[in-house]
Symmetry: C2
Subunit: 185 residues, 2 copies
């Protein structure tokens, strides 16, 4: 399975492509950042993000796109930009008929590090370890995008809270059953 | 000047097209609502909004698009959806090279009714009066979209506070210089 993760942002939109299946070593297929000038108007910046997304989707042909779920609890201005950038990412994926999954930052951290409160550096370190990279990908947005893709593969293609809850339960059971079979630690 | 106003929303995206110039009677060229099913996934809803926007832009060929500026002060869930819908509206306009202007709800109310705190009904009534309609357009989202377009024509094509200030300054300088040359009064 090839998943394109998106850490949305107007200034830096992290992109990470990961290939593999849960329970086997994963491979990084690509990583980067779509940047837009901070002094440009928002509509123009959204056009640049769309263009960047299209290029990534054309190049890597993922089977699914995982986007960070945006919350409104932080800085208001940043959140609006993040929501707008994520809308463009979701739109680009959905109009190609690709399934889009949303994962919260804490779900991603928990999936990759074991703790939903892990710090950026820890996420970067685990992404490097899981994908067997020489070091944590830079900038952090790129590492976060890879973490999203890894999280998506490990969590399965659940799309919403209800599905996620069911999937999480199934993942635990599967993991336990695999542990019994000795296929995972 | 033909302006397409957008009152963004995931469930109902109000659209209103107004033609005319400030100081002369304005005409309604079109009004409607892009609806998306509340039970659909957000990415899918954004695709439907994009499709609707494209149809409106194709049909009416506006010279400018005015979108309601979204604030994060209200209900978190609603605001995220509104921000995402507005992102799609801005994207559709900007990638056609159309200028996109953002106006706050209170700017729109003030432009149309004289009060930034006017109620929905008052906005609807004034929209009907200004555009010489038999009654206030329904639903309120459609009336608000028309109000945005009217506001845009009356306020001029300034795009944001900063640009407005800069543009005003430049206009004053240009006007003074033209006055010196005797090309304008």
């Amino acid at each position: 399975m090839r998943v394109l993760g998106v850490d949305p942002g107007l200034t830096r939109c992290g992109i990470g492509v990961v290939e593999g299946v849960a329970g086997r070593p994963l491979t990084m297929a690509g990583v980067g950042v779509i940047r837009t000038p901070a002094d440009a108007e928002v509509p123009e910046r959204l056009v640049l993000i769309e263009r960047g997304m299209e290029e990534w989707l054309d190049t890597h042909r993922p089977e699914a796109v995982a986007v960070e779920r945006v919350f409104s609890q932080h800085n208001v201005r940043t959140v609006m930009g993040t929501a707008q950038a994520s809308a463009v990412a979701m739109l680009c994926a959905a109009r190609r008929g690709l399934p889009v999954a949303l994962h919260t930052p804490s779900e991603v951290k928990a999936a990759v590090t074991g703790s939903g409160r892990a710090e950026k550096a820890q996420v970067g370190a685990m992404v490097a370890r899981v994908l067997r990279l020489a070091g944590p990908p830079k900038p952090a947005d790129a590492a976060d995008a890879l973490a999203l893709a890894v999280c998506h593969i490990w969590r399965g293609p659940a799309k919403n809270r209800l599905q996620e809850a069911v999937a999480a339960q199934q993942a635990v059971s599967a993991h336990r059953s695999q542990r019994r079979k000795g296929t995972v630690r």
